[in-house]
């Protein structure tokens, strides 16, 4: 028995494949999904989605979205999702540094709390990307 995994972004269908087992970064913790899971709808946080297909484990970076699990079909709706090959490690590293610096500044100022929240999201995305590549 296999799961039918589909990752959809606003731009295109990023990935459609069969997998034996999938873990997704749910909002309140990681979820491992095996075939025959009960129907479930959950928010995702920025994190790594990994799936096992044909003995090899693959990783995809997904940044906030939704997962719809319906028996043997998982549909991931992600605003941004990147395969390993699509990630630019250098760019991510510089973005991380810049964001960390800005965050330090923003945290000093009470008026910039909203911005600080955004920056934290940004840092999280950068870290996820680097984890996927590593």
């Amino acid at each position: 028995m296999t799961l039918n995994l589909e990752i959809v972004t606003p731009q295109r269908i990023l990935l459609a494949t069969e997998a034996e087992y999938v873990t997704i970064p749910g909002e309140i913790g990681e979820l491992g999904i095996l075939p025959g899971h009960i129907p479930l709808l959950t928010n995702l946080q920025s994190g790594i989605l990994s799936y096992k297909s044909g003995g090899t484990e693959e990783m995809v970076a997904v940044h906030s979205g939704y997962a719809e699990i319906c028996r043997d079909k998982i549909t991931i709706l992600a605003k941004i999702a990147e395969l390993k090959d699509d990630i630019d490690l250098e760019r991510s590293k510089t973005a991380l540094q810049a964001a960390e610096k800005e965050l330090e500044e923003a945290l000093k100022d009470v008026d910039q709390l909203e911005k600080a929240g955004e920056l934290q999201q940004k840092i999280k995305r950068a870290l996820t990307r680097q984890q996927v590549v590593a």
Partner: protein, 288 residues
């Protein structure tokens, strides 16, 4: 009467124009293919999102979420998506005219229309006619428009939640096929829960929600709104290129028609000149 030289000059100028329209048609055709592909690739996401939203909001009361609640009166904001460049037939004008008719009256429940214009043409149309333009974005690349539109919509959602305005519409050209683009004015806020065909077909499944149905709804509704506008933008880009291709094809054909008419006129004039010259020679010879 036009001399031979005059006619020849006009023909050359028309030929030049024809070459330009032909080239523009080719460019539009290739851009359209790309834009159409983008639009069709964005469809799975939009459809899935729609089915989740309809699933979640099924059986929910309007008052369950501020983005679903109908509010009377107040201001209506319209996101008007047009092109930056012309030469694409009646695309922008048809849309703007339709939007121009959207005025407060008994049939709708708002008192004031405010326009946020994306694209030069919409801005021009309404600034000449005293439209109420709040913001205007122009001369950007497609990717930039998508980014700015996303940000604007997020801002608008925040303002909507605060109650600064009560209705949000989006006006764009829906891409149906190469020859048909439909000027569309669609209500975005308050969200009208979409009817899902699957649900009607009895494929409704009971989902477990994590963390909770309300939590997901809170996150997904703004996302849904944003995606509606993103899809509209992609549709309008595809429509632009399709309309330009059709317009330029027609222009190329018209130039061809003009050329053949002028060619006949040119031949006649040449024949007339030869005949009159012959008459002169013959009458001259007879006089001797």
């Amino acid at each position: 009467m036009a001399t031979l030289k005059d006619i020849k000059l006009r023909m050359v100028s028309i030929e030049n124009t024809q070459q330009i329209t032909k080239a523009m048609k080719m460019v539009a055709a290739s851009k359209m293919r790309k834009a159409e592909e983008n639009a069709s690739q964005s469809r799975p996401y939009a459809e899935k999102l729609k089915s989740i939203v309809s699933n979640l909001s099924n059986g929910l009361d309007q008052s369950a979420h501020p983005l679903l609640t109908q509010r009377e009166g107040g201001k209506a904001v319209v996101l008007l998506i047009t092109t930056d460049r012309g030469l694409c037939g009646g695309l922008n004008v048809n849309l703007c005219k339709q939007l121009h008719k959207l005025v407060p009256d008994e049939s709708n429940n708002f008192d004031l229309v405010e326009i946020v214009a994306f694209g030069k043409k919409g801005n021009e149309f309404f600034s000449h006619r005293g439209g109420n333009i709040a913001e205007s974005y122009r001369d950007m690349k497609e990717a930039q428009y998508a980014e700015v539109l996303g940000k604007t919509v997020q801002e608008l959602i925040k303002k909507y939640m605060k109650g600064e305005f009560n209705h949000l519409f989006i006006a764009y050209n829906q891409f149906k096929n190469v020859v048909t683009q439909i000027p569309t004015i669609q209500q975005v806020l308050p969200i009208e829960p979409p009817d899902d065909e699957d649900a009607a077909a009895g494929e409704q499944t009971e989902f477990i929600f994590e963390p909770s149905g309300a939590g997901i709804l809170n996150a997904i509704l703004p996302q849904y709104v944003e995606n509606l506008t993103f899809t509209a933008l992609l549709n309008n880009i595809a429509s632009e290129h399709a309309a330009r291709m059709t317009a330029m094809d027609a222009a190329t054909n018209n130039a061809g028609d003009m050329l053949s008419a002028l060619q006949i006129q040119y031949n006649r004039a040449r024949q007339a000149a030869i005949t009159s010259e012959l008459i002169e020679i013959i009458s001259g010879a007879e006089a001797i």
